[in-house]
């Protein structure tokens, strides 16, 4: 988010960096924060190969840049095939959302970190675009940012049209799929846009996993008065040894998705008038 915000400054030379005392300063260097903002840093680090451990901050502005990123970067995380598929899927859908809907020339800022102890990968994607509410309200009437996030996480809801099935290029399913992946794997998933904040909470291993079309029916926390973020930030944690077969997850998604569309159709049925 800091990198995304920094890139909105027209002349990067106007960014001044105070001497960092934080213990995380070396981490910020290795993740490429100073490099992407073209800032000199007096913090010295010994750079080891990031392969298998993290993906430094990358800026992705076009569809072709995204394809190149997925082809070249995801293999560097040294994942098993099934896990690589899941991570590639998440990155593709989230970054394409930014490219298509955020309306920002700076595109998406993305980084990822592998945590050995928990065997998890944490992915963060941020943009400084128009935000979810503006996008969704091209076709809906969300009252606030949180309501817009709720709509965006529901299957089949897209800002590009109210028509069921979406447009030729958009179905309104991307974020629902990502939330479903996180939900089935019992992982964290966070969306922050404008003043709205939604966090899918980790589910205990003992609880039954079910998918909900309405994100507010999942175990979650939410805020509608966060400090305003112009744009959208999404964070996903994927615990690798819990990653369910993607194929099994799709069965649950198919069922939930169809039910949600059917219920929306039913809600539009006209009622018989009895007088």
């Amino acid at each position: 988010m800091v990198a995304a915000l920094g890139l909105t400054i027209k002349n990067l030379r106007n960014i001044q960096c105070e001497k960092l005392e934080a213990r995380s300063k070396h981490y910020l260097v290795r993740m490429g924060l100073f490099k992407i903002l073209n800032l000199a840093s007096d913090i010295n680090v010994t750079e080891h190969d990031p392969a298998g451990r993290f993906i430094p901050i990358a800026q992705i502005r076009t569809s072709d840049e995204l394809t190149k990123f997925i082809t070249e970067m995801i293999p560097l995380l040294h994942l098993e095939s099934e896990q690589a598929k899941t991570i590639g899927y998440i990155v593709s859908e989230l970054v394409r959302n930014v490219i298509e809907h955020a309306n920002t020339e700076n595109g998406a800022l993305l980084c990822a970190q592998y945590y050995k102890k928990s065997n998890a990968i944490r992915i963060g994607i941020a943009d400084t675009g128009i935000g979810i509410k503006t996008t969704i309200n091209q076709s809906y009437a969300a009252q606030n940012d949180l309501q817009a996030i709720q709509l965006a996480l529901s299957p089949g809801i897209t800002g590009t049209t109210r028509r069921e099935g979406g447009t030729a290029q958009n179905a309104g399913a991307g974020l629902f799929f990502i939330k479903s992946i996180a939900s089935v794997n019992r992982d964290f998933f966070v969306v922050y846009s404008g003043s709205g904040f939604y966090k899918l909470l980790k589910k205990p291993l003992t609880s039954r996993v079910s998918l909900n079309a309405d994100p507010f029916k999942d175990r979650h926390s939410r805020e509608d008065d966060m400090p305003f973020w112009q744009g959208t930030a999404v964070g996903v944690d994927i615990t690798l040894d819990q990653t369910k077969e993607f194929s099994l997850l799709l069965d649950a998604i198919r069922k939930t998705y169809s039910t949600a569309v059917r219920e929306r159709r039913k809600a539009r049925y006209k009622r018989a008038r009895f007088i």
Binding site: S63, D64, L66, T67, I70, T71, S81, K85, G88, Y89, S92, E93, R96, P155, G156, R163, E164, G165, G166, T167, A168, Q169, N170, A171, A173, G174, F177, F246, S247, L250, D251, I253, R254, Y257, S258, V261, R262, R265
Partner: protein, 105 residues
């Protein structure tokens, strides 16, 4: 019959919606308009996103109706890709009030 190899244009991970759109507009629709059968062949494609499959076939279903599934088949799909195709075919038919099942071979 029009036989389209998805791998040749989309690669091992089919996720680029622009590529899907180009296949739809430049290959699928012209073939259907000529009353040809279309085979979408996913051989060597390991994974595909829902967005890719949506951009590939949703507008075809919307414009030609679900009868188009009798003229369009999906070949060499792994289980995951089959399921994603089924999700898109399902929600398009639910949304359009259509009833036919798709043909995954």
């Amino acid at each position: 019959m029009k036989h389209i190899m998805i791998f040749d244009q989309a690669g091992e991970f089919a996720e680029n919606k622009d590529v899907a759109r180009d296949i739809r507009l430049q290959e699928i629709i012209p073939a259907l308009d000529k009353n040809e059968e279309v085979i979408l062949d996913f051989e060597k494609v390991g994974a595909a996103t829902q967005s890719f499959i949506h951009a590939l076939i949703s507008d075809v279903l919307r414009n030609y109706g679900n009868e188009v599934l009798e003229r369009m088949a999906f070949k060499s799909c792994n289980d995951t890709i089959k399921k994603i195709i089924n999700i898109v075919v399902d929600y398009m038919q639910e949304g359009l009030g259509l009833e036919k099942e798709n043909d995954v071979i």
